[in-house]
Symmetry: C2
Subunit: 603 residues, 2 copies
Amino acid sequence: MREAASIYCTVVACYLVILLAVLQGLATPESPFPYHIPLDPKGTLELSWNVSYAQEDIHFQLRVHGLRAGVLFGMSDRGELENADLVVLWTDGDTAYFADAWSDQKGQIHLDPQQDYQLLQAQRTPEGLTLLFKRPFGTCDPKDYLIEDDTVHLVYGILEEPFRSLEAINISGLQTGLQRVQLLKPDLPIPAVPSDTRTMEIRAPDVQVPGQETTYWCYVTELPAGFSKHHIVMYEPIVTEGNEALVHHMEVFQCAAAFESIPHFSGPCDSKMKPDRLNFCRHVLAAWALGAKAFYYPEEAGLAFGGPGSSRYLRLEVHYHNPLKLEGRRDSSGIRLHYTASLRRFDAGIMELGLVYTPVMAIPPRESAFVLTGYCTDKCTQLALPPSGVHIFASQLHTHLTGRKVVTVLARDGREREVVNRDNHYSPHFQEIRMLRKLVSVHPGDVLITSCTYNTEDRKLATVGGFGILEEMCVNYVHYYPQTQLELCKSAVDDGFLQKYFHLVNRFNSEDVCTCPQASVPQQFASVPWNSFTRDTLKALYGFAPISMHCNKSSAVRFQGEWNLQPLPEITATLEEPAPQCPPRQSQSPAGPAVVSFGRGRS
Amino acid sequence: MREAASIYCTVVACYLVILLAVLQGLATPESPFPYHIPLDPKGTLELSWNVSYAQEDIHFQLRVHGLRAGVLFGMSDRGELENADLVVLWTDGDTAYFADAWSDQKGQIHLDPQQDYQLLQAQRTPEGLTLLFKRPFGTCDPKDYLIEDDTVHLVYGILEEPFRSLEAINISGLQTGLQRVQLLKPDLPIPAVPSDTRTMEIRAPDVQVPGQETTYWCYVTELPAGFSKHHIVMYEPIVTEGNEALVHHMEVFQCAAAFESIPHFSGPCDSKMKPDRLNFCRHVLAAWALGAKAFYYPEEAGLAFGGPGSSRYLRLEVHYHNPLKLEGRRDSSGIRLHYTASLRRFDAGIMELGLVYTPVMAIPPRESAFVLTGYCTDKCTQLALPPSGVHIFASQLHTHLTGRKVVTVLARDGREREVVNRDNHYSPHFQEIRMLRKLVSVHPGDVLITSCTYNTEDRKLATVGGFGILEEMCVNYVHYYPQTQLELCKSAVDDGFLQKYFHLVNRFNSEDVCTCPQASVPQQFASVPWNSFTRDTLKALYGFAPISMHCNKSSAVRFQGEWNLQPLPEITATLEEPAPQCPPRQSQSPAGPAVVSFGRGRS
């Protein structure tokens, strides 16, 4: 049996070699694809794409180096290969086929009755095979993924041998993987940059990337002495050639001005050798993640750095994702800041929305989608924002490991008005600053509501809020201008009401939750006997109890006023999640797989 | 302006008269439509239909007596004319059109991009106009109603004048109405009836129907002296000719055997003259509602009546629905029982599932869809059902005024297995005994879960469970065989846990709920300050607290065992509501309105 398969494979391999040899040689025009990422850690599969907002479709170019018998590519809810929306290129030994398909929850592949991925070109180049195909954002086929402007989990699989039919393929036997990316980046015009713009490269020189899956590399550098106030107007990634699949994300932080000096350092962020003071380098200057291009500030604003009252020390953090545990890779990736001394009209600011880092906000264990919500109330925006308001142009969502969705909504006069930023496929492993498609203006009296959805199915105890990686956060860092004194606008449930909750849990259960004053909130949560009542009542508490507001100038200084026992904002009208507009049925697309005839291409 | 319109109308009226006069005269074959109902109280619109389960479509025949300018017909969630799925026959003065359309939430009519109602014939007869059209059960058009086997709210509207276009029509100016019906009746073979079957007509002779919208008429009659045990094998409605739109539903009840005699009576059920003993005539022998045909017992079972231990007295209840408040109508409608002395193998029984009639089960005010659930536990079925189980063949769902949905699901080994009966468009104004499409077998150890969804948006205080019309019930009367001693299998939350709930409400609110022993549960519920916390916590309580079971031989006699503080059945797998299977898009249907050419027909 095994021998027969092996002979069969050899025959097919020959067929492919002959076919592809014949098809080599011709030229393709310069790539019209602005976005580009490697899909797998070896760089065997490379994806480029462009987006047409007018047509509402995406053109994909998939390059496969050293094609064997075929390839799967697609999207799924959270990167699983089951229940995925797929395109499949496969051969039965004689003919190559391309089809829009889907995988069921057992990983079995099926043909989509509606073929929405359209093959435009299949070409053989010296580097490998190139497929060009397009797909609408939404297809109205329930088996298809709806492409939106949030995180998309791309999945792939490599077919090592022919299959007699599409239905014969099951993903369980294949080499597969996932890559996260924002496919629909906003199509904003690129703002002009002042003529006196200079650049500064923040990069760790010659890092020896450790042979382990995950490394956060920390590197400290400093601005020149006497460096005056400048505006960062743009920044872009510098990724060492060949390491495109290794460098997952990078951030540049400014250290706290309180310290005269910060020791230099270049090493893993979790190293025991890392100086403690690096923990005070948390003010984000720039952030890049895989698939992102240059980040431009709006023409009227820049991010201030340098000058008095601002630290000269910067910390670069590079996340190396090395699942193949490659040894001996060297890297000098980093971020190039473009800055100007011709200050723009407005300083840009960063404001933290969401939940205070406190254990009073907790997620019961074994929950698949538990929601916590943090508020920036009308009272705080009334006090802290200028009469003409501020304009949010970018947003970075943040949770720890159990975060699955994050959304911030703006409400005015009790009615939700617009979404500031939403990621229904949020992953804590893929946090990037995203430009908003349009500015969101926040006026005094507006309310900003940030909700995070968590999955704690693999945990046995409650997950409380806090700084630890096993604790949780719910934060949206919004980038806005003009800068104000308001740095934090976050909430948490009132602690007195939480104590009432622990009391009522005691009433309903035989086991006792210690409500004595010396027990800490995490201890109290750890002794709650979780069941549908204690869970649902905690939800009811969070949806009802008054909140304590952090309406702060910096993490320690509150605006003046009474911020405890504040009422929850009353929202009488909520926004509906937009449903795709499905046109009446029309059968324009072919109903079966397309036979692939390969064109020829050069490198 | 008014004059112009009036002239225009006259012209159109002439046009219609001429057109219709020309088209009169030809023959139609005998009606192939088994189901028939008047849509409006005057009988201007008559609907007949048949169902093809093989094709999954319905053929409708709509007769319009004295057509003016057009007619609207369709379906909506609960009988509103807004957000309705409609077919419209209209004229612009020159040409008549037929189109699949929908109304938005302002009542404005729009053309459906997908035309799923297909006009087969338009005919003029001496009585009026007859339209024949068909529609699939499900169309996959989100603007269309999905026809299922539960209650359907049919809606209609009469166009008095021409409209230049479909979009010019708004339902607000029209004479409109609704009619409830089960469109998809099960297509069961008609069981054979024994040759010695005799009939007995239970009808109130010569009732003068009061000139008010709603009358429940009560009439007492008795079985002949010495009437031995018989089986009812079938019953059918007898509706006085001309009163088809007036007689809404009818039920025959047997009185309690405890009374030697029951006084004769014929009058409104709410009359002060009504003898009190009639309140003890509640055992259902037969029930019919508008649109229903004859009810046949399964071949192996019959409903026993007569003989020792069974009351000779029967009560007929007729619901007259008289929205036009017609005076002087006389009626002798009733039910014809078909019964046999050749007893069938099994006596049929009726079992009550759902909630005990007790105020501990309550619905907060201002709720749009609050769910209460009653259980028939494994412990009770284990004790009360025979080893080979029982077979449910029919079901009558029952709530009071705020009920909107009812469903009973059968669970085995902690997993939901099948739906016994579901009505997602339940109306308390339309309760009928429905045959199930297939027998549901219930075995010892099975669990039956009955959930009712209530709308209390127009109430200011909690609605508690109870017998009163302003209190609520959640009941499914299931008809089954072989008969067992189990008459009631219902539950309610444990009262001790409800008292804990009132205590915790006290903790969270400044107002006090009296938890002193002398306060009744309705008084306690009336003093709950309703907010999201008290509502969500009540929900959490009902989803968690142990229950008190009524596992009873009759309403007063329990089976032996401990029935208090029983755990809620644990359900680990729930059934999903079936989603319509939408085929791939195909554009076979016309995209616009169809021009109507009228055929000719005779009476």
